[in-house]
Subunit: 146 residues, 2 copies
């Protein structure tokens, strides 16, 4: 009699375990940011492993691959639908505590012949830190005028 085939495609390795832990602690990290974090605990891990596992986890729905602006993809441990805000200066991405707008998909469905699967709202703006920096730079300049 054959052993039942392994239906779960996910073998829980040390690398995957640490990746998930660090992803949960980090704030929408890029693959490289996650790599740096994980490397502090598993110093021989390769970037390829990070990318391969992120891809697998996203495909299986364990994590979310964020299709946000900017040149690098970001990853999120929170898989319930939610919106994001991205700082136009430093690129930081944060959750925005807003209810998903239920009507928006219905409205969009009425407008197109697409079979709509999902949606994402991304706000852009200056994060508090960058606002402070800009203000300080401004004061600096005023002072130099005196």
């Amino acid at each position: 009699m054959n052993a039942a085939p392994d239906l779960n495609p996910f073998r829980p390795t040390k690398q995957r375990q640490v990746m998930l832990e660090e992803l949960a602690k980090a704030n929408h990290p890029t693959a490289c940011e996650l790599y740096e974090r994980v490397r502090l605990r598993l110093h021989r891990i390769g970037l390829g492993t990070i990318y391969r596992n992120l891809e697998l986890m996203a495909a299986s729905g364990i994590i979310l691959k964020l299709e946000v602006g900017g040149s690098q993809k970001r990853y999120d441990a929170q898989t319930e639908p939610h919106y994001h805000i991205r700082c136009s200066r430093c690129g930081l991405v944060e959750n925005i505590d807003m209810h998903v707008i239920q009507n928006v998909i219905a409205a969009a469905s009425r407008k197109t012949a697409y079979n709509i699967i999902g949606h994402h709202i991304e706000f852009t703006g200056e994060c508090p830190k960058c606002q402070r920096k800009a203000r300080n730079a401004c004061l600096e300049q005023e002072r130099s005028f005196v």
Copy 2:
């Protein structure tokens, strides 16, 4: 007396003129797609010129650089704020004829300490063409079962 400095940073070259014309005709093209179009009319143009000018035009607000999902950036001749829908299969990006949700920025402002500059809603789904393709592939398979 000095001549007034050229305030418009934009020298209207043949390349820029053709780029803008083709961008207006194309449907949210990537830089490469625009390059192919422009090359039919100016066959010695280089990709570098395309990227450089797209960047300049976006910076000066003449066109829009779309921060949509996918690995390539896309560009849009329509600069008024509007939303997009992207096919999850073929990557096609189209405008969606929906009013910009005015309340959404106010709501987001209340929720964060960010200085919010803008927002973008991106829907994902299957475009009609890809839906047809999928349906046909399905029929094909059913037929092979008979």
